[in-house]
Structure formats: structure tokens, C-alpha cells
């Protein structure tokens, strides 16, 4: 206690030092976590399979092929040496070549990642734009029919298998009603009308003024985006409700009401602004969860993103691609957590 007070009074020098110390701690935690992620994928790739060589060459390969591949994979060396090599390669983004596409795994991932990013971003946007007002409404009208409705909406979102809901959505809105386009990102007829620059179809077509192609892309993306948006909404509305209930019980809300502020102003300007700080963490987490949800959604909608890349590779026993993709998703997960943590510190003066 005493030392903290003295440090606080020490002026800029010690403030900077404690800041640097925090940054150093942050970096160490981040580094060990990332190293751990690499260790897990190394373990899955090299230790779990009965024989990684057979996984590559198949069980009918002649002995000399087997030996050559074994040496090429570095499996004749001690495990710890293999791990060091693996870490060094992973640090430079080298996950080996994909058996399926013969490209380096990292190149493949860079190609497919924008599609996943597009879907997850739209999903989170939908989740935020609908989920937060719903959560606020449920908290304000606590115990009413609206509250029950939001609760059930959330519970259904937690319980429904995403791949099944996607299929049912396709059945209803694509096959029966014809309101949206089917699987894929864009019709083949439009796919030659623009050149991929960012890899995000909506951006590319809009920037190049290909509005027909743009609207076609919209009708392709709307169903999977709404699907992911619903899952994000289920989580965000539930958390918003609980944060808002917390804030509405605080004394400053009473003070604001006593001052004669309108109820709208009290709720949206005062209470929600304070609830927004923990909400940032929730939104970052839901964004990360959508990356996971995208694995199944992309499979259902033939969406050429990271999730489909991983499942395709799985079906073809392409371990390099599977582990590379897993590692990338894990890293994005860790980084998103880090960003939300930093934002939290930035937004909430109490944590400074």
C-alpha cells in the first residue's frame, strides 16, 4: 500500500516504468500463450498419430519411400529438436505445403481468410445492431413479455445446431421462397466482372462500380451473415441485459432521473454508456466465437473461407493445412482477447 502511494507520487519517471513493466508482462504472457498454441498443434501433428509418416505416404508405401519421408519430416531427430524447428518455421508463417492444393499453407490461408472475415464481420454487425437494443429493452422492461421473448430467443440461439439452422434457412429462403441466392459467394456469371483486390467481394465489386455483381454478392451473403448474426445476437443480447440491469440499479441513474432527465436519455446516454465498457469485451468474444461458428456455416453454404478450407483439408487427411488453419484461428482468438483487454483499459478510467 505504502509503496504504491510512493510510486504514484514519483512523477513521470515511475509512471513510465510501471507502464513499461505492464507492457513487458503483457508481452511475456502473449509469447508464452502463442508458444503454447504452437506446442499443442505440434503435439497433435507429431505425437498423437500412431505414425505421422504413414499419415503422409499411406500404409502401402515401399520401405525406401517411407525412410525418405521420415528423414524429410525430420522424424529421425529427437523430439525436442523437431519442436524447435517447428517453432522456428511457425514463427515465420511456414506451416509446410498443403497436400491438396500443393501451395504453401500460409498462401492458401491468406487467400481464403478475407471470405471468413467478411462473413464474421457482417455477422457481428448484425449481432451488435440488433442484440444491444434487444438487451437494453429486456433490461428496461424486466419481467414482461418482451423480456421473456428475448430470453427464449437467446436460449434457442444457444441450443440450435448452426449447421441444421443453415440448411433449414436454405430450404425455406432459397429453395421454397427464392428470396436469396444459394450457396457460394457470387454467381459464376458475375465472377469475371471484377478483379479481386481485397478479397472481400462486397468491397471489390462496389469499388469497381459493378453494381449487378454487388447485389448478387449481397443476396449470397445475406443468409449466412444473418445466421451468424443470430448466434452473435443471442450472446450479446443476454450479456447486454445483465450489464444494463446492473447499471440501472446504480445511484447515478436515480440521480439522473431526479434531475428530471427523460427516460430515453437516462437509459441510452447514461446507463448504456457505462454498460458499453464490459460490452466491448463481449463483442470481441462473440467475434471470436463466430470464427468457430464459421467452420460449420461455411461448410453448409459452400463459402470458400478458412472454415471450409480446414474441413476440406480434414477430409483429405491434409494435416499441414488443418494444423496451420487451427493455429491461425487460435492466434486470432488470442489477439482478439488482447485487443478487448486493451480497449477495456482504454475505455474504463478506473483500470488505469
Amino acid at each position: 500500500m505504502v509503496s504504491a502511494v510512493m510510486n504514484g507520487g514519483g512523477g513521470h519517471g515511475s509512471a513510465l516504468r510501471s507502464f513499461l513493466k505492464k507492457v513487458a508482462q503483457f508481452v511475456i504472457v502473449l509469447a508464452t500463450t502463442l508458444l503454447g498454441l504452437v506446442a499443442v498443434t505440434f503435439f497433435i501433428g507429431r505425437v498423437v498419430p500412431i505414425d505421422p509418416v504413414i499419415a503422409v505416404v499411406g500404409d502401402r508405401a515401399p520401405a525406401h519411400v517411407y525412410e525418405r519421408v521420415r528423414t524429410e519430416l525430420g522424424l529421425d531427430r529427437p523430439l525436442i529438436e523437431q519442436f524447435v524447428i517447428y517453432v522456428k518455421k511457425a514463427a515465420t508463417g511456414d506451416f509446410g505445403n498443403s497436400v491438396l492444393t500443393t501451395n504453401p499453407v500460409m498462401t492458401d490461408i491468406i487467400n481464403v481468410f478475407p471470405a471468413t472475415l467478411e462473413l464474421a464481420t457482417l455477422g457481428t454487425l448484425i449481432g451488435v445492431l440488433i442484440g444491444i437494443p434487444l438487451g437494453v429493452l429486456a433490461a428496461v422492461k424486466r419481467g414482461t413479455l418482451i423480456d421473456q421473448f428475448v430470453r427464449v430467443l437467446g436460449l434457442v440461439g444457444y441450443s440450435v445446431p448452426i449447421f441444421w439452422l443453415g440448411l433449414m434457412g436454405l430450404l425455406l429462403f432459397y429453395a421454397k421462397l427464392g428470396w436469396v441466392a444459394g450457396p457460394g459467394r457470387i454467381d459464376v456469371t458475375y465472377s469475371y466482372l471484377y478483379t479481386p483486390v481485397t478479397g472481400i467481394v462486397l468491397l471489390d465489386t462496389a469499388m469497381q462500380g459493378q453494381w449487378d455483381a454487388f447485389w448478387d454478392a449481397v443476396s449470397h451473403v445475406i443468409l449466412p451473415a444473418c445466421l451468424l448474426g443470430y448466434f452473435s445476437l443471442a450472446y450479446i443480447s443476454r450479456m447486454t441485459r445483465s450489464f444494463m440491469l446492473n447499471e440501472l440499479a446504480q445511484e447515478y441513474v436515480i440521480a439522473a432521473r431526479v434531475k428530471g432527465l427523460s427516460e430515453m436519455r437516462v437509459i441510452w446516454r447514461h446507463a448504456l454508456r457505462n454498460a458499453a465498457v464490459p460490452l466491448v469485451t463481449v463483442i470481441a468474444l462473440s467475434y471470436a466465437n463466430l470464427l468457430e461458428g464459421s467452420v460449420l456455416t461455411e461448410t453448409v453454404f459452400a463459402w470458400p473461407g478458412l472454415g471450409q478450407y480446414i474441413t476440406n483439408s480434414l477430409q483429405n487427411a491434409d494435416m499441414n493445412a488443418v494444423l496451420g488453419g487451427t493455429l491461425v484461428i487460435g492466434t486470432v482468438f488470442v489477439l482478439l482477447n488482447l485487443v478487448s483487454d486493451l480497449l477495456y483499459r482504454l475505455l474504463d478510467p478506473r483500470t488505469r
Binding site: W164, Q315, T326
Partner: protein, 310 residues
């Protein structure tokens, strides 16, 4: 009052249950259970959830009696293939002329098998890691919690996918993979509980009597952590079912001809537009069962942990 007969009037039974001076440990426990049940049954959604879970268990036990047809052997491929729901085939038939209702009924066994096994594997791992980490503290704590955090850093389905990819597809491997990805939150909870127990007087007393560290952890810390873990595991069951179904959908869980619900949805995908029931029915079963576990878990949490209920 001693030995009050159970066949008394309901009012008498209630008085016996709620007696402030129970005569036996057994009576006290029943009384606590009764109070919990009263709080639980006030929540209609939770009761519905309990009903669904009981129904699932009954379906699994009596699958032989309930299912009208074989889950594996199909009927006549010329006339009974892909029939819509009717009085003879309640949920319709699939591409191999098998009755989908019978397959869904038998599938409840697989679902229950997965959930129970994952809980039986993952809970002890989490319990052991958490209690050891919390009780010993120091570098053991740091190392074990870093490992836990690393496993938490992967999205569950993706990590399970990678494990199944390495182990090979199959229901056993899917269970192992899901269990490996499920234990970290349990370790966290067990550790938090242990930190509260660690400094209590009764632990000090046991220590003074000369009990060894493993004995203290296994005999005195673990039993106190179990109850809060049970709630968490119940809340997780829906997630376990969805992950298992997702693996099945991707062809990595139960292999054909096993009637696993996720794999059945994957089959139905090929007939989605004209024979919607093939995919719709098993998916509905997954949805209802995981909704049941979620409702039950929510109700249990409200009863056992009033602080979290808002």
C-alpha cells in the same frame, strides 16, 4: 417424533421434511432437496427442461421397445425409399429406406453415451488440475494455469477437429477430442473453490494430524468442489451435444450406419430440397435435447447459485 412414518398425510410429510431439527443426516438432506425442488419447480421452463432430459433417458433405455423398425436395416429399396412422414413412418424414411423415427430413437443412446462419457472423462481431469493447482500454489499453479489458458485459447470445435484429424474419425475419438477440449473451464472453477477452502481451519486441523498432501486434496478438497462442478457440467452438456453433432455432421464422429443425429443431418443434406424431412427430423432432435439441457442448467443454477440469477 422418532421414526415418523412416511405414510403420513402430505402435510405431515412436509412438516417432517422442513423440520428445523432433523433427526438424521438423511432427513436433513431430503429436506434440503425438497426446498431446492420447490424453488426449481417454480420455474416452468426449468421443469420443461427436466422433462426433456428425462424423456431422452427413457428413450435411450427403452429404444428397443419404442422404435418400430430397425435403426440399421432398411426396408424395400424400391418402394420405401425417401417416403414423406406418414402414419407408418412418423418421420419419413431416408435414402436407404430406413425409418427415420426409429433411427432418431436409437440415436438418443449415442447422444447420451457421448454426454456421459465426456462428463466422466473431462470432470476428473479438470478437478485434479484445478485442486492441485489451487492447493499447491507457487510455480505448479503458474504452470498448470498457463496450460489451461492455452487450451482455452482455441475455439472448442476447431481444436476438437484437429484432434479427430490426428486420431482418425470415429465416435470414441470424437469423445476423447471433446473431453480434451472440455476440461479447462472445470479446472478454473475447481481452482477458485480450492483457493477458498485452502486456508480454512479444518484443513489446518487435518494437516496438524499429519495427513499427506495427496490425502488432503483427494479426501478433503475434492469432495467440496464437486457440487459446483456438477452445475457447470450440466450447463455444458448442450455445448457437448452440439460439438458432437457438429463433428458427426462433418463426418468425423460416429461412422455409418450408426444412427448419430449430426451424421443423419449430413445425409439429409443431399436430399434437402425435395425430401426435407431427412435432414429436418434428426436436427430437430438435436435442438430439442440441447434446449432441454440448457433449460435444466439454467434452472439448476438459479436454485444452487442465487447470486448468478438475475
Amino acid at each position: 417424533m422418532a421414526g415418523a412414518p412416511l405414510a403420513e398425510q402430505p402435510a405431515g410429510l412436509r412438516a417432517w421434511l422442513l423440520s428445523p431439527e432433523p433427526h438424521s443426516r438423511w432427513q436433513a438432506r431430503l429436506g434440503r432437496f425438497y426446498l431446492g425442488w420447490r424453488a426449481f419447480s417454480r420455474n416452468p421452463l426449468a421443469v420443461v427442461g427436466l422433462g426433456i432430459v428425462i424423456l431422452l433417458i427413457l428413450l435411450a433405455i427403452f429404444a428397443d421397445v419404442i422404435a418400430p423398425y430397425s435403426p440399421v436395416a432398411g426396408g424395400d429399396l424400391r418402394t420405401q425409399r425417401l417416403l414423406p412422414p406418414s402414419e407408418t413412418f412418423w418421420f419419413g424414411t431416408d435414402d436407404q429406406a430406413r425409418d427415420i423415427f426409429s433411427r432418431v430413437v436409437y440415436g438418443s443412446r449415442i447422444t447420451l453415451f457421448v454426454v456421459v462419457l465426456v462428463a466422466l472423462i473431462a470432470t476428473p481431469i479438470g478437478l485434479l488440475v484445478g485442486t492441485v493447482s489451487g492447493y499447491l500454489g507457487g510455480w505448479v499453479d503458474t504452470v498448470l494455469m498457463r496450460i489451461t489458458d492455452i487450451f482455452l485459447a482455441f475455439p472448442r470445435l476447431v481444436l476438437a477437429l484437429a484432434f479427430v484429424a490426428a486420431l482418425g474419425p470415429g465416435i470414441e475419438n470424437a469423445i476423447i477430442a471433446i473431453a480434451i477440449t472440455s476440461w479447462p473451464p472445470y479446472a478454473r472453477i475447481a481452482r477458485a473453490e480450492t483457493l477458498m477452502i485452502r486456508n480454512s481451519d479444518f484443513i489446518a486441523a487435518v494437516k496438524l494430524q499429519g495427513a499427506s498432501t495427496p490425502r488432503i486434496i483427494m479426501g478433503h478438497v475434492v469432495p467440496l468442489c464437486i457440487s459446483s462442478l456438477i452445475v457447470r457440467v450440466t450447463l455444458d452438456m448442450a455445448g457437448i451435444i452440439l460439438t458432437a453433432a457438429g463433428l458427426g455432421f462433418l463426418g468425423l464422429g460416429a461412422q455409418p450406419p450408426m444412427p448419430e443425429w449430426g451424421a443423419m443431418v449430413a445425409t439429409g443434406r443431399n436430399y434437402l430440397i425435395d425430401q426435407w424431412w431427412v435432414a429436418a427430423m434428426p436436427g430437430l432432435a438435436i435442438f430439442v435435447v440441447s434446449l432441454g439441457f440448457n433449460l435444466l442448467g439454467d434452472g439448476l443454477r438459479d436454485v444452487l447459485d442465487p447470486k448468478a440469477a438475475k
